[in-house]
Amino acid sequence: MTVEDLAVRRVTGTGVAVRGNDVDTDQVMPARFMKEVSFENMGEYVFHDARRDADGELNDHPFNSRKGASIVIVNKNFGSGSSREHAPQGLMRWGIEAVVGESFAEIFADNCTAMGLPAVTADQQTIEGLQTFVEEHPDAGLELDVEQARIITPEAEVPVDIDPAAQEALTEGIWDTTAIMRANLGETEAVAAALPYTDR
């Protein structure tokens, strides 16, 4: 894969709103579904418990009715708690290609970037407006323009914030940092050797 293949400059598709502050990664991916050695099936488990009533019947959670949506719109401190990459992997494998929210927990945001999944923010009023819009117009097409940091709906164009490093990583196709850092193995060896606690 070339950096051109990996570049994420825009995401288009319909939206889905998941409302609520502090949606932790235990809600996104309950721990019992992490007992698999691959991420392959995580799309099936995303929001598993939140999508069901106490009797196990599917409830009105938006992920039960909005399969096919590409952009999830969330509120404040989304992805808090556990560092499990299983949570953003589950979202991505369900079909999500971008996460838009008021704010994200740091490890969650880092995991998204490391997977090439844009996670962008906007203020509370903007986010709630987008949530209401996608709830009222579930079939309307949205576009997240990562390069220009904006979301375009059929009704409006709104600015969003994106961490400059994440924006660079996504638009230049360099979000997968393994090869870039591995090229610095010599420098890394030198840093390691200079540390007082390594036997190098």
Partner: protein, 471 residues
């Protein structure tokens, strides 16, 4: 930006390069590994034909999925998924020359309990693990960060993570803790004060008289829950308490080499004229035992303080969150948590699964009995902790009181093994997260508190103020 803090100094030592994204490439001096978040990373490495760059800087154990009942630890494990995960880890560490403390090792235990007690975690290191509670290691004056699986792949393949420097917040804890009040109460109070997302974009430097007075295990408990306050890392400047704890541990050199390390560690402390991005102060004097009343670790009250009423909360989103929490927990606004009945008492975890935690609980349990309808379980954080407790006869105190005495693992903090809450059960827990479903059934309920408070709740069958319990 901060200047001359421990964080700045440790970062500078480990920085390898500026990356084209604008991030820093940071060398990771200690990489800890467990069975749940690592197999996918090894698969990515195999796909790319890459080898582990620094196998001598990675240490692995098994903690999340392991049974804690001694007879259930025989192989193959009854849970086939757990057995598969454990075998995957065993294969990966063997083929990559990584040190592994498995179920047959006297060093097995929770990553964040074993690395400190083995002396693997030391001042001035960068520590990473595919686990958000990696902040724990900051107690030694290091930078500990939780990472996801793609970043584990990076650490394995390159010895580094791509990351950005954070702002540094000094959290000054003044005063002195009273009897029956512990490190856990300090950190719950900090999270309550600053919020569950108050630390996003920051590392917390904990300091002040109440932090300096804590022993290493107390400091580990405080740093451990940094992530519950949104801070990816938290640390305490190293001092004589730190060096005394480390002296003589298996991975700490002795003699002149130790003296040389101490000399270096002394230079790492934040300078007296260090610049912080901001400072907040929390009072330890008059701090009461703290308990959670809701479904996130910031929903905290003193044990004798009323649960807040949603009607008093002006922000509509926060009010909705409080209503959801009150509904899930079935607590009464305006009433304190005192007297809230418990079904389960759970003692252990990377927050409070160390020797001092079991000693504090044992002081409450000595000569007492667990309430008839309470299931009480004690899970040492490591096999070394278990052995130390047993050498002091602490296991007998727990067993005599009616607790089950288990072997090391994460157990009911995350309920990935057989230890789990049933529907509607309430757990008095020394763990770190009260999220819905965290301890098992999604209708289960968690009240976070100190180990002594857990022991007192186990005996009373309800939440009590441990300061009122005579021992």
């Amino acid at each position: 930006m901060s200047e001359r803090t421990l964080y700045d100094k440790v970062w500078a030592r480990h920085k390898v390069a500026d990356l084209p994204t604008g991030e820093d490439q940071l060398f990771i001096g200690l990489h800890l590994m467990h069975e749940v978040t690592s197999p996918q990373a090894f698969a990515m490495l195999r796909e790319r034909g890459l080898e582990v760059a620094f196998p001598d800087r990675t240490f692995a154990t098994t903690d999340h999925i392991v049974p804690t009942e001694p007879k259930a630890r025989e192989r193959p494990l009854a849970d086939e998924q757990a057995e598969t995960m454990l075998q995957a880890l065993e294969t990966n560490v063997e083929s990559n020359d990584i040190t592994f403390y498995g179920l047959d090792s006297e060093y097995q235990g929770i990553t964040h309990v074993i690395a400190p007690e083995l002396g693997l975690s030391q001042p001035g290191m960068t520590v990473a693990c595919g686990d958000s509670h990696t902040a724990t290691h900051g107690a030694f004056g290091s930078i500990g960060i939780g990472i996801g699986t793609s970043q584990i792949r990076d650490v394995l393949a390159t010895g580094c993570v791509a990351t950005e420097k954070q702002r540094v917040r000094r959290v000054e804890v003044t005063g002195e803790l009273g009897a029956g009040v512990y490190a856990k109460d300090i950190i719950l109070q900090i999270i309550r004060t600053l919020g569950v997302d108050g630390g996003v974009g920051h590392v917390y430097e904990y300091g002040g008289p109440a932090i300096e007075a804590l022993d290493m295990e107390g400091r580990l408990a405080v740093c451990n829950m940094s992530i519950e306050g949104g801070a990816r890392a938290g640390y305490v400047n190293p001092d004589a308490t730190t060096y005394d704890y480390l002296a003589g541990r298996p991975f700490v050199p002795g003699g002149d080499a130790f003296d040389a390390l101490v000399e270096d560690w002394e230079t790492l402390r934040s300078d007296t004229d260090a610049v912080y991005d901001d400072t907040v102060t929390v009072e330890a004097d008059d701090l009461a035992p703290q308990v959670t009343w809701g479904i996130n670790p910031g929903q905290v009250v003193a044990v004798d303080e009323p649960v807040p009423a949603p009607a008093d909360i002006t922000d509509p989103t926060a009010r909705t969150a409080a209503e959801k929490a009150i509904d899930h927990m079935d607590v009464t606004p305006g009433e304190p948590m005192l007297g809230y009945p418990v079904d389960v008492a759970f003692l252990g975890t990377c927050t409070n699964g160390r020797l001092s935690d079991f000693r504090e609980a044992a002081a409450i349990l000595e000569g007492a009995s667990v309430a008839p309808d309470v299931w009480a379980v004690a899970v040492p954080g490591s096999e070394q902790v278990r052995a130390a407790c047993e050498a002091e006869g602490i296991d007998e105190v727990f067993l005599d009181a009616g607790f089950e005495w288990r072997q090391a693992g994460c157990s009911m903090c995350i309920a990935m093994n057989q230890d789990a809450l049933g529907p509607g059960e309430v757990c008095a827990s020394s763990s770190n997260r009260n999220f819905i479903g965290r301890q098992g059934d999604k209708a289960g309920r968690t009240v976070l508190m100190s180990p002594a408070m857990v022991a007192a709740a186990a005996v009373a069958g309800e939440i009590v103020d441990v300061r009122e319990v005579t021992t």
